[in-house]
């Protein structure tokens, strides 16, 4: 967990960062949990493989998903999505299109999987460094909050922490059970 926190703190930089790191280290981290709850899990830094040749079949273990995932905005894991579907841009539900770079940070939604009636945490990462629009734009934005809860803010670019800032499309990665 300590390492995860360090990764999260990669959000922070320079003056603001140093002061904030100090705060994080000295204040009671868990005191906010009950009121902040799941809603504040945003900005998770995901374990990323540099490349994947599985054609997006590496997902959905234990989720009871069908073999072929839906390609429309109504698919359950897109409940908080705001962006274009990478599955229509040469990627897949969990894969950025070739030549683009997954965002280092993300916003997070909590979506109910109709296959097992459980709530899952879904990380919405933008795929970065490529120009031009692509794919259907979805704006479901369930659980979205303005930037004062930045980890839930679907109105932000999430390529903002990458070197390459061009936003191409958005993927939806199931990263955890919400209960």
């Amino acid at each position: 967990m300590a390492k995860m926190i360090d990764m999260l703190l990669e959000w922070m930089d320079t003056a603001a960062e140093d002061r904030a790191r100090g705060i994080a280290k000295t204040s009671g981290r868990r005191s906010f949990l009950q009121k902040a709850g799941l809603a504040l899990v945003g900005g998770v830094v995901l374990p990323m493989l540099p490349y994947d040749n599985s054609n997006g079949q590496a997902f959905a273990r234990g989720l009871g998903e069908p073999d072929e995932l839906p390609e429309d905005c109504e698919y359950w894991r897109y409940c908080s999505l705001h962006g274009s579907l990478c599955s229509q841009c040469g990627g897949s539900v969990t894969q950025c299109p070739p030549g683009s770079t997954p965002s280092k940070v993300a916003w997070v939604g909590t979506c109910r999987n109709p296959n097992d009636d459980k709530d899952y945490l879904v990380s919405y990462n933008d795929c970065c460094g490529k120009g031009g629009g692509c794919g259907d734009g979805c704006s479901r934005q369930e659980g979205d909050r303005p930037g004062y809860r930045y980890g839930l803010a679907s109105e932000s670019s999430w390529c903002l922490a990458n070197t390459d800032r061009g936003i191409h499309c958005t993927v939806a990665i199931v990263v955890g059970l919400a209960e």
Binding site: A16, G129, E142, G147, Y148, Y150, D164, R165
Partner: protein
């Protein structure tokens, strides 16, 4: 080689020669060739600014329309994912944006640009820390201090902070860390601003006179970000700040004491059938002379529908706590009302790609009626009206 080239000289020589037989600058008594010029200044008069954000790696533009009939008078353009504001007199425009020399990849720079509105000319450019919030435009992301000597600019890396720019020296005075807080709401009576924080409180940052240091003070809890989240959009009413929640509860707040305090909460949709909620981005606009708040609204609102376009714009008397009129103005995501006795309402529709002007009739419970419109290309969520 010269001979072979000479054989293909074609266009060039024809160009040079073609002036002989035609009348350009020839002795034609009745014809004087026209001259090509650039217009020096826009025509005078009040303006409406629609801030068009470019998210595709190109220039953002603030388009300037006549507030009278919405004809297009000009524009100023800057970098990507702009934020925009105006001086109180409407004569100076400010845009914070990013320039990325390779558009969709590689490094860039973030700048604050200052424009003379009359000539549409860039008059100053200030390099900012490379942290500018790349966020759907909201007026709360770029604001001026009350004396207009400083600009406050929202950063997000996604760690949040505010860049303070001294507009007199043209230099960055400091970067105020504001972790967990967002939006900039300048104080009227002092140098500084408040911000909305993730736990439902506000933090107020009071700056030293030179803008280089700050003190901050956190408020009590003002709203519940889970149950009743507020928008970034805000307006002033008799010195107080007005916010509104997704569920159409109006939060009236005071910042006069250097910290935010709650004055009142007014649920404007209470008792109205149809499960109405607030609708859009720039959703709070208050007419001073009559004390009437205008809000775009939609029915059957639900989790995720808060940025949808309007079905109606409601006029609500904040002095009498009375819903005055529900004008059927569809698909608006941003509105602005003027402050006089006979207000004009302006709205922008993303769906239509149009800015609209509506006459508002104070004798008819502030009903609004469309009187002008103009197309606007691109993505916009804010607009501003200047004197």
């Amino acid at each position: 080689m010269a001979k072979k080239i000479a054989a293909s000289f074609g266009l060039l020589c024809a160009l040079a020669g073609a002036f002989a037989p035609v009348g350009v600058f020839a002795q034609e008594d009745e014809f004087v060739p026209e001259t090509l010029t650039a217009k020096a200044e826009m025509d005078p008069g009040p303006n409406v600014f629609v801030s068009v954000q470019n998210w595709g790696g190109g220039p953002s533009v603030a388009v300037i329309f006549s507030a009278d009939d919405l004809h297009r008078k000009g524009s100023v353009s800057g970098g990507s994912q702009s934020h925009f504001t105006l001086s109180a007199d409407g004569k100076t425009a400010y845009m914070a944006s990013g320039y990325y020399p390779r558009y969709d990849s590689g490094e860039g720079e973030h700048v604050l640009q200052v424009f003379d509105v009359a000539t549409n000319a860039l008059t100053k450019e200030i390099l900012l820390p490379y942290k500018l919030a790349q966020y759907t435009d909201d007026l709360s992301l770029l604001q001026l201090s009350a004396d207009e000597k400083f600009a406050f600019i929202q950063n997000a890396t996604p760690a949040t902070s505010v860049t303070v720019v001294d507009l007199t020296t043209g230099e960055v005075a400091q970067e105020v860390p504001s972790p967990g807080c967002f939006g900039i709401y300048p104080m009227r009576s002092a140098l500084g601003f408040s911000a909305i924080c993730n736990d439902g409180a506000f933090t107020t940052y009071t700056l030293s006179e030179d803008g280089k240091t700050f003190q901050s003070q956190k408020s009590e809890t003002i709203f519940d970000p889970d149950a009743d989240p507020i928008y970034l959009s805000a307006d002033r009413a008799d010195g107080d700040l007005l916010f509104i929640s997704y569920h159409a509860n109006v939060y009236r707040l005071s910042d006069t004491d250097g910290v935010i305090t709650k004055v009142s909460v007014t649920p404007i949709a209470e008792g109205v059938d149809g499960n109405w909620g607030t609708s859009g981005y720039t959703v709070v606009s208050y007419n001073d002379a009559n004390g009437v708040l205008f809000v775009p609204m939609h029915s059957e609102h639900h989790d995720g529908s808060h940025y949808h376009g309007s079905e109606e714009v409601w006029a609500y008397d904040l002095k009498k706590n009375e819903l005055l009129y529900r004008s059927p103005l569809a698909d608006l995501v941003a509105i602005q009302v003027t402050d006089g006795e006979d207000p004009e309402l302006y709205g922008f529709s993303l769906k239509d790609g149009k800015v609209y002007k509506y006459d508002v009739d104070p004798t008819a419970r502030f009903a609004a009626k469309k009187v002008a419109e103009h197309a606007v290309e691109g993505f916009a969520t804010t607009l501003l009206v200047s004197p």
